[in-house]
């Protein structure tokens, strides 16, 4: 297996792809959104419980997709749970930079080092959408 593929399919990705964390629907939830990638058919349904202070008390998802998209969603829910929406927005920016190779300001990624495991996506430009699908769904959920 090439280094690029090893980098793409790190063990943590395969693990989260097969056994996603926070899979299901928040009960109750006050924010939700659907993400869909028409190019490959990947889908994600995201539900969140956000309190008055803008803290994400709970976040869960259901969906179908490739290992990258499921693992990325699973890792996203782990890194966002308990965090503020401001933090989440900055983290999204950092994450986008990381996987598109533009990353020079990755302060927050350091705190969520599991997200580093998706860095290898950058070598496969057509897969960037797989990794960002759930983040875009998150954006539209909180902007709803």
């Amino acid at each position: 297996m090439s280094d690029l593929l090893k980098e793409l399919y790190q063990e943590i990705i395969l693990d989260h792809g097969k056994t996603p964390r926070n899979f299901g629907e928040c009960e109750p939830f006050n924010k939700s959104a659907d993400g869909h990638n028409p190019l490959c058919g990947d889908k994600v349904h995201l539900t969140l419980m956000v309190d008055d202070q803008g803290i994400i008390k709970d976040i869960k998802f259901t969906g179908v997709g490739c290992a990258i998209s499921i693992a990325s969603t699973s890792l996203m829910t782990q890194s966002l749970k308990g965090k503020s929406l401001d933090y989440a927005n900055s983290l999204f920016q950092d994450f986008s930079n990381l996987i598109t190779g533009k990353g020079d300001k990755l302060d927050l990624i350091g705190e969520e080092d599991s997200l580093y495991s998706l860095k290898g996506v950058g070598a496969f430009p057509m897969r960037v959408k797989c990794a960002t699908l759930s983040w875009h769904a998150f954006k539209s959920a909180i902007n709803d």
């Binding site: 869909h36 028409p38 190019l39 496969f124 430009p125 057509m126």
Partner: protein, 409 residues
């Protein structure tokens, strides 16, 4: 301004100019019909097919990535070239004709009801008439036509007098393919004041004058790639994003969907919504290369140079008493239509062809306009960056020869 001010040895960029017609050097005065291609465009098409070719957007493999990036990169280049706000406002079509048909059909579905009115002009190319005729024939839409003055400018007072409460859209040429006249931006001001949507047919303006769609403030602007030194088979539709967003899809197929079941479908967002099926991807890329080419020269310079050529030709032709030109307007560029006394345009064109000069003769896809000018046909010369004053000298001498040849008969 001289040709070397554009770019040194610019004629060497165009291999077609090496062609001999019989024993004469080719003088290509038919850019308004289609422009010749610079070598860089020709080579890049071949390079794309040889090294980067695959379908776009639908795969994850390396060639697909390369092809997709080249295709989307062309969209960005066009966006910047005409100063659109967003890439989503640039839709690839096969030509300007398809772009206008797209707007006519989808705009009608969204906004028009029987007896609503659309304003065109009497000097439109058939491609900006027929798509609207279909609406008149099939949906009872009323068409009205702006008159022109003696020099081929739109009569804007007449335009204003045509507007009623039922008028929804005005669709006119931005630069006449018969007269070379440039549409006064007052047309847009009048349209805005009356809440009309505006479509400008940019087929001729795109390669001759600097186009800034935000400054023009039109709602739609269309052009064909082949007239700006790009490949055939690629056209562009620019539309303001909020308007394009509201319009229903045009052609259905792959690539324009969000989700499909056997009961129906939802559609992709812009620009994909209007790009059903495998697009002319290599041609789109080639258009991007052509746009790089003209931008490296600079549209301002091209505009000045071609205006100079037009004035030079006008001046020389006006000295021949057997030549009638059809516009004395000083607001024109790059195109001159003319007739020689008593000699049909086809005879003129054939005579000039043997001399090595390619001109257009016929109705220029403007039959209604020919009727108004009371001619069957005209000859037309049109210029591009590769033309020179000495070519015009040679052409004017050939007109004299032509006149003499047919006078003897």
């Amino acid at each position: 301004m001289e040709q070397q001010d554009l770019k040194s040895n610019i004629r060497a960029d165009f291999p077609a100019l090496n062609k001999k017609i019989l024993k004469n050097d080719l003088i290509y005065f038919d850019t308004a019909a289609s422009a010749q291609k610079p070598l860089i465009v020709i080579n890049e098409l071949s390079d794309f097919y040889s090294k980067h070719y695959s379908n776009v957007s639908r795969g994850v493999h390396t060639l697909c990535v390369e092809a997709t990036f080249k295709y989307e990169d062309a969209r960005k280049k066009i966006q910047k070239f005409i100063n659109a706000k967003s890439e989503n406002e640039i839709i690839f079509t096969k030509n300007a004709t398809e772009s206008i048909n797209l707007i006519a059909q989808t705009y009608c579905k969204k906004y028009l009801k029987p007896d609503d009115e659309i304003i065109l002009s009497v000097m439109e190319h058939h491609s900006n008439l027929l798509p609207w005729f279909f609406l008149r024939d099939n949906y009872g839409i009323v068409l009205k036509f702006i008159n022109i003055d003696a020099d081929g400018n739109l009569d804007l007072e007449h335009f204003e007098s045509l507007i009623t409460k039922k008028t929804k859209l005005v669709a006119v040429t931005h630069l006449s393919n018969v007269f070379g006249t440039i549409t006064d931006n007052k047309l847009v001001e009048i349209s805005r004041a009356n809440n009309l949507h505006i479509l400008l047919d940019g087929c001729q303006s795109i390669s001759h004058i600097k186009v800034d769609v935000q400054e023009l403030d039109c709602d739609f602007y269309v052009f064909s790639g082949h007239k700006i030194y790009g490949p055939s088979g690629i056209g562009v539709l620019y539309g303001k994003e909020d308007l394009l967003d509201e319009l229903p899809p045009f052609l259905g197929g792959g690539g324009m969907i969000n989700e499909v079941s056997l009961d129906g479908a939802t559609y992709a967002s812009l620009p994909n919504k209007f790009e059903a099926g495998t697009p002319p991807l290599v041609e789109a890329y080639g258009l991007g290369v052509a746009i790089d080419y003209v931008q490296n020269i600079g549209m301002e310079k091209i505009e000045l140079y071609e205006k100079m050529l037009t004035e030079y030709a006008d001046e020389k032709m006006s000295k021949l008493d057997f030549v009638n030109t059809y516009s004395k307007s000083n607001k024109k560029t790059s195109i001159i239509s003319f007739n020689l006394d008593d000699i049909h345009a086809h005879e003129v064109a054939s005579f000039l062809d043997v001399e090595g000069i390619a001109v257009r003769a016929g109705h220029h896809c403007c039959q209604p306009l020919m009727k108004i000018l009371d001619v069957v046909a005209t000859s037309r010369i049109s210029f591009g960056v590769y033309n020179t004053k000495s070519e015009i000298d040679y052409f004017v001498d050939a007109l004299v020869k032509c006149k003499n040849f047919f006078s003897v008969k």
